[in-house]
Symmetry: none
Subunit: 160 residues, 2 copies
DNA sequence: CTATATTGACCATCTTTGACTATTATAAAC
DNA sequence: GTTTATAATAGTCAAAGATGGTCAATATAG
C-alpha cells in the first residue's frame, strides 16, 4: 500500500534521522523515484509543512537545492505558546492533524495519545449544530471511547 | 441461500482469522465479488460496526484502503458497548469523569490519557454557542494542548 | 408486507503528472 | 568588466487519475 509519496517522505525522514537539516536535489530525487519533479514539492507541502515542524528553503539555478530544516524549539513553554497562537480561535482538522503529528514525532505524546487527540477533534466528533454542552460532550466522548478501545485492543502498541 | 453480504462478511472474517487487523481495497474486493463497491460499505456498516466489536478506518485517493480492526475480546467490546450506551446522546461532565476514572482504575487508559480525555470534554473546552466546527475544534484542541504540556513537563509521569 | 440487501449516480479526498514560469550560475561576446 | 545567451535548477497550478463515501431508489428474501 505504500504510496510513492509515503516512500519519499520516509526516505527524507531517514536522511534526517541524524541531522536536523538536509539538502537535496529535487530533480535527482525525482529521478531516483522515477516521478515528476513536482511530486517532490507535493510531498514537501503535505508532509513537511511548518505545522509539521519543518521549514523548507531552496535555491534555483545551477547548484540549486532544496533544504529541509527541522524546527527547533527553545523552551517547552515557548513552544506551547506558539502552538496556542497557531491554533487561535479556529483551526481546520488538517492543520490540527499536522500539529499532532509534529508532537508525536517530537515524542511529546505517545501514538495512543495522538490518536486520542485526533479522535476528539475529528469532524465527525464535532456534531454541529448542537443544543447543549452535554450533547456535544457525549459526541466527543463517544469518539474518544472508541479510540481507547482500539488502542487497548492493540495491546497499547503505538502505531498511528 | 447465502447472501452476497454473508459471503463478503465471511471472506473478511477469514482474512482476519490470524490478524486482528486487515487492510483491503474496496474496489478490488467489490470486483472479486462482482458487486457494486458500495456493497462493501453496506457489509462493513451492518457487520463490522463498533457494536460488533470492530473499528473501520479508511483513506481515499491513490493508495487508498479500508482497514478493519477487531477489538480483542467479546467482553471488551461488550464493555465498550455498555459505555457508549451509558454515554448516549448527552452526558454531564461529572458522569463522564466517573467513567474516565473507572477506565483508569481498570488500567485501560494511562493517567496521561485520562487527563487528556478530561481536558477534551471539560465544560471549559466546549464553548457554546459556537458558529463553526473550526471554532469549536480550536477550543477543544487548545485545552488538550495545554494538557499535553502539563503532562510533558511533569516528566511524562502517569499519576491520576 | 416488511426488513434486508443491492445498485448506481454523485460526491470527497488524495496522488501524480505536465505544461508553463521563475531564478541562478556560467560561458560567451563585447 | 558588463552584458547577454544558455543551461541548470526549482516553483506553481490546474487537470487527470485513483481511491473510498453517501444516499436514495430498487430489488429480494422471509
Amino acid at each position: 500500500m505504500a504510496q510513492l509519496s509515503d516512500n519519499i517522505e520516509q526516505f527524507i525522514k531517514d536522511l534526517m534521522h541524524e541531522d536536523a537539516r538536509v539538502d537535496l536535489r529535487r530533480n535527482e530525487l525525482a529521478q531516483h523515484f522515477g516521478c515528476a519533479p513536482s511530486q517532490i514539492n507535493y510531498v514537501l507541502a503535505t508532509r513537511f509543512s511548518v505545522d509539521h515542524g519543518y521549514i523548507i528553503e531552496s535555491r534555483r539555478g545551477g547548484g540549486g537545492y532544496v533544504r529541509i530544516v527541522r524546527m527547533q524549539t527553545r523552551s517547552e513553554s515557548g513552544f506551547l505558546d506558539m502552538l496556542l497562537n497557531r491554533v487561535g480561535n479556529s483551526i481546520s482538522e488538517e492543520t490540527a492533524n499536522a500539529i499532532i503529528s509534529n508532537l508525536a514525532e517530537k515524542g511529546m505524546v505517545t501514538g495512543n495519545e495522538a490518536a486520542l487527540i485526533r479522535s476528539a477533534i475529528a469532524r465527525s466528533a464535532l456534531s454541529l449544530p448542537v443544543s447543549s454542552k452535554n450533547v456535544l460532550r457525549a459526541a466527543v466522548f463517544r469518539n474518544m471511547l472508541i479510540q481507547v478501545f482500539r488502542n487497548y485492543e492493540e495491546g497499547k502498541r503505538d502505531d498511528v
